[in-house]
Symmetry: C2
Subunit: 188 residues, 2 copies
Amino acid sequence: MQIFHDKTALLVIDMQKAFVEPGAAHCIAGAKATVPACAQVIQEARAAGAPVFWIRRQYRADGSDVEFTRKEAWRKGGGTMAPGSTGLNSEELAEGLTAAPSDYQVLKPRWSGFFGTELDLLLRRLQIETVVLIGTTTPNCVRTTCYDAIALDYETIIIEKCCSSQTEEIQRANMEDMERIGAKIIRE
Amino acid sequence: MQIFHDKTALLVIDMQKAFVEPGAAHCIAGAKATVPACAQVIQEARAAGAPVFWIRRQYRADGSDVEFTRKEAWRKGGGTMAPGSTGLNSEELAEGLTAAPSDYQVLKPRWSGFFGTELDLLLRRLQIETVVLIGTTTPNCVRTTCYDAIALDYETIIIEKCCSSQTEEIQRANMEDMERIGAKIIRE
């Protein structure tokens, strides 16, 4: 299926070692298995000339920008995703995913890719009309980005096989909720 | 249970005829049944001196601020919730709920009570630390407001019996997701 065109941007959300690699501090159960599908979709976007945005978590080393409800988990994880960190609990992209120099990097301090970032400004400047969301985790960062994207008048497409949740039930319920507000869910 | 104190605000979300009254254009199945519980919680907030915010939908008569994914449904509904409208598909509060002159009215054009509104500015000025959310519908306006509230560092409490969804399954799945990101769900 050809979903990318020159008014489309691909947003790859939180596909970082600390969320994806088995054994990492904040590992999402379904995330690792989505890496090959994500890599393929990223390739399709590039082939179609659609810009690729890496929407990434990075927390200040002193934890001052960690969500207050997660400060404890962040501390127990050893202060994950510090700038420039490497290894299992780091902000690095998951194994198997590589950014190109021309890709956009957007650091976000909260769940939505639009919250406290310049994502909307960048998309407007590129005259993007449609955003395609892949990454993790479906109920939090993918979903909040989806709601904000539609609120900002972007047509929003979610590729389910490239998104992940802690359980299949969470994945299904969230896809259905997003579909009901007008997101297009690609399920094949 | 005493949940209100002087650093707490009650946010009553979208409890308007067009969403609540049976037969209305955008009626949420579970909403009408929550009115008595909402009325009681509003009374408790007032008794504790906590400010009450009516977070309300109102669409411009020409539809220019309706979510683009809902424009068709809004048109089919006859252009609901226009300013000053009355009756079944109106922006009026649901039957059984009454605002006091000293309450805050916040009109919102999207799902989240924080999106494109001065809600955050008002809460800061009042030095509010905790927001209590009631209203409809759980997966959309309640949930997006919850995520934004926590992102903005407000302790967030949801009173489940005062919230509603089209099905019990949607209600349950969304309460669980919100609980996992650190919202406090009051279930009794």
